[in-house]
């Protein structure tokens, strides 16, 4: 490695152990970040990455081991102390306050914000300088996820950090926004800021990071130079096993259109949601149709409109196998074969406080015959849940445990599996691998591909472009409630999709400086 790592590390973690009741989240973890280094922390969900960075940021305290800051051992008592040292953090689940303004949110994350007028000017300056447009006066609940992330980044930058911790920062950004973020991060690194970068997107880590520390089961299992590795080799270090790549059926012929949506127009129920405007597309039997787009462009509304949680104006708007279902509700659509997986698994896809068996009954009672006239068929329900767990490799102590106790990836496998085992004719899935580790993501992708191979029409709504490029046959981009025309995935270019994703949306994020890309697209 280059000579700069021989200097005193900015941050060194030595033998840090953290136990929670029943789990060792971190087990004698060692690693170091040098000045100006971009260091990746890689690991599956539950590998202990979040626990580790929370200790560095002072939210949690290590049971054993020491943290060294510029070579000096110290205790980081709380986040105030961390910030005083020059540690900034961008959280995966944003630490934002919805009903408050951007400016208030930024001030809350600073120890000496100064007076608000000056701070507002500084926010504008920093957001301009780093290409992160923000209006300080807006209320946070009116912003998209991407804009919310900018708040966190700007908040950190305002405090001249020496070490910036970024937890899964790119999952909500367009490819253009990602490259702009990377420019920002490289610029910061060149200024001597150390960056601790957590992501499951291995290609990004290859592009951006100087070194990577790989965690598995709370232990450091390996370190590597990402540039010298392939994404696949890093994924294997991460999960500690051979990573199955998704196998596509080759050139299988597609059948008749199974799902036809014609002129779906839906006013959002959410005050700051996006109205759907005249959305039309069709998905053939055996086809995987992708819907790309930056979060908050109508995906939630589209999913509600497809699943039947919201009804269309006319019956003819949505058809499955020539049966008109536009005015049928979610339960009825499910009976006719349209199953769906919403984005939010806890509380929408599954009831966190209910057992896996009960959660199975909730969506599959009709198609799987789990309910007789009055009573739940306990035996059949238990067998169904057990079958999901077995078929989709859901890691759980049993089917009687509450859905909320499962890790994100395992619950997602359960929810997706529950719908697939109902043998749908059309499956609508939103964000199938959001916050899911590489192993589980590969399993879910394979399941979707296999399902399509059986002649099911599959719709995948996702913000993860790599995912869509990997598994879809055709895709379209949704932007402020308008769906672009569909393109064949293999012929589509990332640049083109990225422009469609980012183009018009840039308007409401940067009212002061119309985006060059906007003009380009318009």
């Amino acid at each position: 490695m280059s000579a700069r790592y021989l200097e005193v590390s900015r941050l060194e973690v030595k033998g840090v152990t953290k136990r929670f009741p029943g789990v060792v989240a971190n087990d004698r973890v060692d690693f170091a970040v040098g000045p100006g280094e971009v260091h990746a922390l890689l690991g599956e969900n539950g590998a202990g990455k979040s626990t580790l960075v929370k200790m560095i940021y002072g939210v949690l305290h290590p049971d054993e081991g020491t943290l060294l800051w510029n070579g000096e051992a110290l205790q980081i008592a709380d986040p105030h102390a961390a910030r005083a040292l020059g540690i900034g953090m961008v959280f995966q689940h944003f630490s934002l306050f919805e009903a408050m303004t951007v400016l208030e949110n930024i001030a809350l994350g600073m120890d000496k914000p100064g007076d608000m007028a000056t701070l507002a000017t500084r926010v504008r300056d920093v957001s301009q300088a780093y290409g992160l447009p923000l209006d300080p006066e807006r209320d946070v609940y009116t912003l998209s996820v991407g804009e919310r992330q900018r708040i966190e980044i700007v908040r950190c930058l305002l405090q001249n950090p020496k070490l910036l911790i970024m937890d899964e920062p790119t999952s909500v950004l367009t490819p253009q926004e990602v490259s702009r973020l990377f420019e920002t991060l490289r610029k910061l690194a060149a200024e001597g800021v150390s960056i601790l970068y957590i992501s499951h997107k291995l290609e990004e880590i290859k592009q951006l990071c100087d070194r990577a520390t790989i965690l598995r089961g709370g232990k450091v299992v390996d370190t590597c130079d990402p540039a010298a590795e392939t994404a696949k080799s890093m994924a294997q270090m991460m999960i500690g096993a051979e990573l199955k790549s998704v196998t596509r059926r080759g050139g299988a012929s597609l059948g008749e259109p199974r799902l036809v949506v014609e002129g779906l127009t839906l006013a959002s129920e959410d005050l700051h949601g996006v109205d759907l405007k005249n959305i039309s597309f069709s998905v053939k039997a055996g086809e995987i149709f992708g819907i790309a787009g930056v979060a908050g462009n109508g995906q939630n509304e589209l999913l509600l409109g497809l699943s039947g949680e919201r009804l269309a104006d006319h019956d003819s708007v949505l058809r499955i196998d020539h049966r008109v279902l536009g005015r049928k509700d979610a339960g009825q659509r499910r009976q006719y074969g349209l199953c769906s997986v919403p984005e939010e698994r806890n509380g929408h896809g599954a009831v966190p406080g209910m057992s896996l068996i009960e959660n199975g009954v909730l969506s599959a009672h009709h198609r799987m015959g789990l309910v007789s006239s009055l009573f739940i068929q306990a035996g059949a329900a238990a067998r169904f849940a057990a079958e999901i767990v077995k078929t989709f490799d859901v890691r759980t102590p049993g089917t009687g445990v509450s859905a909320g106790s499962l890790s994100g990836g395992n619950l997602q496998k359960f929810v997706v599996g529950r719908e697939i085992l109902q043998k749908p004719t059309v499956l609508v899935v939103s964000q199938p691998t959001w916050g899911v580790d590489a192993g589980a993501a590969a399993a879910i992708h394979q399941a979707l591909v296999d399902l399509a191979a059986k002649g099911v029409a599959v719709v995948v709504v996702s913000q993860d472009l790599d995912e869509l490029l990997a598994i879809t046959d055709r895709l379209a981009v949704i932007n402020v409630g308008v769906l672009s025309s569909a393109m064949v995935t293999q012929e589509a270019s990332v640049e083109e999709i990225g422009l469609l994703m980012g183009g018009v949306h840039g308007l409401d994020t940067a009212p002061a400086t119309p985006d060059a890309e906007t003009a380009h697209v318009a």
Partner: protein, 308 residues
């Protein structure tokens, strides 16, 4: 002529609004921090009995006021230990606090029933207070009335402009976020709950020392509940709360005068009005174009257990 009738009516409205204003303003701050304390009635009546007892025993109205606030705070502290430190259910604990307060105050106050106390002195400004109409309306109240109005200004400024107020709102909006940024959620909530207790205690003290300078078992007569309704009615905004307190206070007085004037509206209908108004406001907010976002703090009533 009409003025001669109106002035005393308005004065009684002030008297009936002030205890509501105190209690509701305290509860507003508590709820803004994300805590729902349904024990307002219990804290108020403990404030009333403590203020009365101390004022009678020492002969000092000021000491009575202090005792009322302290008693409300003591009750709030019990609530805080249960719901904040021990993370008990806030609704159940609040209800228990009310029942406990009503019972304990009856026990402690048994010896004070029927004893008179000198009402709190009016703060008169020579010359100005003698002005017709304006004098009695604006410049001849006791200290607690002015304090309640000053508290509205203070709370409004605190929540909107001060950093501590911003942190308090943040804690009520998302306890987990506030914790991860590094704020001590429990400590902020303790302070808010104690403030709420003190304010409820002051409301009680006003009742037993000024409004009706007597002690009676159960003399708060549901005002704590009206105060809770008032916070929702005002959609958690101090200035609307001021208007609401005087409106609800006015309705209470209307009920007395309409009976006196022989208007054929049953008193029960009028005493329903504050609650009906609250339901109406909630309905309007929920049905209006701004639906989905009541100004309710997002974490209201949720217990918070920090991980360490």
């Amino acid at each position: 002529m009409t003025l001669d009738i109106l002035v005393p009516i308005i004065l009684t409205v002030v008297g009936s609004a002030t205890p509501l204003l105190f209690a509701a303003l305290g509860e507003l701050v508590v709820e803004k921090s994300g805590v729902l304390n349904l024990g307002v009635e219990g804290m108020m009546i403990m404030g009333a009995v403590a203020a009365f007892g101390v004022a009678v025993s020492t002969g000092s109205g000021t000491l009575g006021i202090v005792a009322g606030a302290a008693a409300g705070m003591a009750m709030a502290f019990v609530f805080g230990v249960l719901t904040l430190t021990l993370a008990a259910n806030q609704v159940a604990t609040g209800l228990a606090l009310t029942i406990f307060g009503l019972g304990l105050s009856a026990l402690l106050g048994a010896g004070f029933v029927g004893i008179p106390v000198a009402p709190l002195a009016k703060l008169a400004i020579p010359g100005i207070s003698d002005l017709p109409v304006i004098g009695p309306l604006l410049f001849a109240h006791d200290a607690l009335v002015y304090l309640s109005l000053a508290a509205v200004v203070g709370v409004a400024w605190f929540l909107k402009k001060s950093r501590a107020g911003m942190i308090l709102r943040a804690v009520g909006e998302s306890d987990i976020s506030a914790h991860s940024i590094g704020y001590d959620v429990i400590a902020v909530r303790y302070r808010a709950v104690l403030f709420g207790g003190a304010m409820a205690g002051l409301g009680g003290a006003f009742l037993s020392l000024s409004y009706t300078p007597l002690w009676n078992e159960g003399m708060t007569a549901g005002r704590g509940w009206i105060a809770l309704a008032l916070v929702v009615f005002a959609t958690w905004r101090p200035w609307r709360l001021l208007a609401g307190a005087y409106l609800f206070g006015g309705v209470t007085i209307l009920q007395l005068y309409s009976q006196g004037a022989g208007v054929a509206i049953p008193a029960q209908v009028l005493s329903m009005l504050p609650y009906l108004a609250t339901i109406l406001v909630l309905t309007i907010i929920a049905a209006g174009p701004w639906k989905g976002r009541l100004d309710a703090p997002a974490c209201l009533g949720k217990p918070f257990r920090p991980s360490t």
